[in-house]
């Protein structure tokens, strides 16, 4: 993992449409300051979604840049700050899944074939977090994004379904299955985490 992303960089809160409507209006008129504020507000969310999905900082930045570029070209369709957040999540997901398919030889691991993390647990938080992230990264694309949206963005099942454009029941069953696999693997690696 990139050194710059460790330690003190893990402190961003979840922001869901906290941008003032005026900033969106300003950006829509073509004001670059307004658009820059939008980028600053949501770059953490977009970059993190792409990073946890792709597990590659370079590709994640490329996806995040592409997402904001698309946002700039489609600002006239954004209705509100809340719509903006959902739109960014959707486009990030689509860009990330497209990138993942282009590089599918790197991420084609099924639930049962998912590798155990290379690092042995030694009790440190950082190691545990890295193990969890490695396991999440080993999930198939759709359940992986579901887990990321559920725990990074703290979205409800219906919101995840909306972002990914799939039925709620599909989200529910896939997420349950993915979490079951993660739980059993984490239990083996880190000890009893279900307590």
């Amino acid at each position: 993992m990139n050194e710059e992303l460790r330690g003190e960089d893990w402190g961003c809160g979840v922001s869901n449409g906290t941008l003032e409507g005026g900033v969106l209006e300003l950006a829509r008129t073509g004001d670059s300051f307004g658009f820059e504020r939008i980028v600053r507000e949501y770059q953490s969310m977009v970059f993190s979604l792409a990073y946890y999905f792709l597990h590659d900082a370079g590709r994640a930045e490329e996806i995040a840049q592409e997402t904001f570029l698309r946002l700039y070209q489609n600002l006239d369709r954004i209705e509100s700050p809340a719509h903006l957040v959902q739109w960014l999540r959707k486009v990030t997901w689509r860009c990330a899944i497209d990138d993942s398919r282009k590089n599918s030889h790197q991420h084609s691991v099924s639930f049962d074939e998912a590798p155990e993390p290379a690092v042995e647990p030694k009790g440190g938080d950082l190691l545990a977090e890295r193990s969890v992230r490695a396991m999440v990264a080993s999930l198939p694309p759709r359940p992986r994004m579901m887990v990321i949206l559920r725990y990074q963005e703290e979205l409800e099942l219906a919101e995840i379904a909306e972002v990914m454009g799939i039925p709620v029941n599909t989200v529910k069953s896939s997420l349950n299955r993915a979490l079951g696999v993660l739980r059993s693997k984490l239990t083996r690696v880190l000890g009893d985490v279900t307590a």
């Binding site: 969310m45 930045e61 995040a64 904001f68 700039y72 969890v132 725990y151």
Partner: protein, 158 residues
Amino acid sequence: MRLFDDELRRALRRLDAPPGFTNRVMARVEQAPAMKATSVWLRPVQALWNWAEAWTGRRAALGLAATAAILVLAVSFAVWRQHRLHEEQRQGELARAQVMQALRVTSVKLQRVRSRVRQATQGGDRAPHRDKGSRTNRSDQRGDLARARQGGFVELEI
């Protein structure tokens, strides 16, 4: 259970974007073309595309779009071919009507010639003169020609 959720939540906390990310985005934005203003008639197509892409993924949406394009092309080709067949049929009918008309006119002309030849052979060396009977005969021939042009049939006797 809660511990497991907390582990995941902690591991998947938001990250800061890499340093200079905003500047790089803004540089790309400045180079990008102006905001897309989708024309009104393209909006339903765009909405349909977005819906298909959301439901099926980009590849499948592209496949659907390609199938739809092929269907449109096939239907257009079928309509064009049908129109062309209809046009050819219409021209054929017209040509047939013209040929029939020409045959009728020819038939009348031949009858006229035949009656003159008969007159010449019956009258011997008598010079042709215009009498009441011949005038009647000529007016009959004119009537035949008119009937032939109107579509009536004239029996051809040679």
